[in-house]
């Protein structure tokens, strides 16, 4: 009778421990670490509005993430100048040639770029929205 009680107790503890472990594992794989940041021009973005030169923005040629195994899966961008604007969605972390050309265009001087809808893919192929998923980059002159 005493043995059955011990077995019941042990089974109950095992169940609780297993459930806790499973929950923790699920939490780990279902969310990004809290300090996950998008990198623009190789620098972590900690605010929704930042300033950098066009050269610095294009330096790495891609939008990175500061966590190993994580990459930017897709993002959208828009730029506005007087009488012209461009807007597109990129299903990659790379900065496409079209965008590079627009940023460096000598005739239309875009003074800022809005980046939004950033989606990050982790090593387990899960998709996440980072805490800062909308960024306005104001281009400053060198």
């Amino acid at each position: 009778m005493l043995k059955i009680k011990y077995i019941q107790k042990a089974a109950f503890i095992f169940l609780i421990v297993s459930l806790t472990a499973l929950t923790l594992k699920a939490q780990q794989s279902d969310s990004l670490p809290k300090d996950t940041l998008v990198l623009l021009g190789g620098k972590p973005v900690k605010a929704r509005e930042i300033e950098m030169t066009k050269k610095a923005f294009l330096k790495t040629g891609k939008i990175d993430v500061n966590q190993k195994g994580c990459t930017v899966d897709q993002y959208s961008y828009s730029m506005f100048a007087l009488g012209s604007n461009i807007r597109a969605t990129v299903r990659d972390s790379l900065i496409p040639e079209k965008l590079k050309r627009a940023i460096l265009n000598k005739h239309i001087n875009y003074r800022y770029i809005n980046i939004d809808g950033i989606i990050i893919r982790n090593g387990d192929d899960n998709l996440f929205i980072p805490e800062i998923d909308t960024i306005k980059v104001k281009f400053v002159y060198q």
């Binding site: 828009s78 506005f80 100048a81 001087n109 003074r111 104001k138």
Partner: protein, 166 residues
């Protein structure tokens, strides 16, 4: 009883004065200088075409800006909290009557920076969203006392566009 009536009269007078001061246009004077966020770029200078005004919901107003070739301009708007919806800002080519920028396409951005490559006359149009509180028609229109009116500031800054190369 007489004292009570005097007290009620005085309180009503104070309340009325407080309310009417909200409608005062002078409250909005220099509003753009005190409330609009200036550029962090030290090369930007204040443009005298900057304006402030008293607006009610549903009101639209525009001001002329003569933008010169070889300059960067920064237009920013600021407003009282009474307006719950974002303010619409449009930049319109005066000659062609063509909208060159509309902040409703740009997440209702409160500031817009652009470079001018050919001198141009621009209308800067401000629209406060919402149902107009005006009752009556034309010149006999009056603003209902319970309607929300507030100040809107339009700050314009400019700088010489830095030249690249020789």
């Amino acid at each position: 009883m007489r004292n009570l009536l005097i007290a009620i009269f005085l309180l009503s007078a104070i309340a009325l004065t407080g309310q009417t001061s909200d409608y005062s246009k002078s409250r909005c004077m220099e509003y753009h200088k005190n409330h609009c966020e200036k550029s962090t770029n030290k090369y930007y200078k204040y443009n005298s075409e900057s304006r402030s005004g008293l607006f009610h919901k549903g009101q639209k107003s525009k001001t002329l800006l003569e933008a010169f070739n070889g300059r960067d301009y920064r237009i920013s708007i600021c407003h009282d909290d009474v307006f719950d919806k974002p303010i619409i800002m449009r930049v319109i080519d005066k000659t062609r009557d063509q909208v060159l920028y509309d902040n409703s396409n740009d997440n209702y951005a409160q500031d817009f920076e652009f470079t001018v490559t050919t001198s141009i006359d621009l209308w800067i149009e401000i629209e406060v969203q919402g149902d107009s509180p005006l009752t009556g028609i034309d010149s006999k229109s009056i603003i209902r006392r319970d309607s929300n009116v507030g100040c809107v500031g339009l700050l314009i800054e400019y700088m010489v566009t830095p030249r690249k190369g020789f």
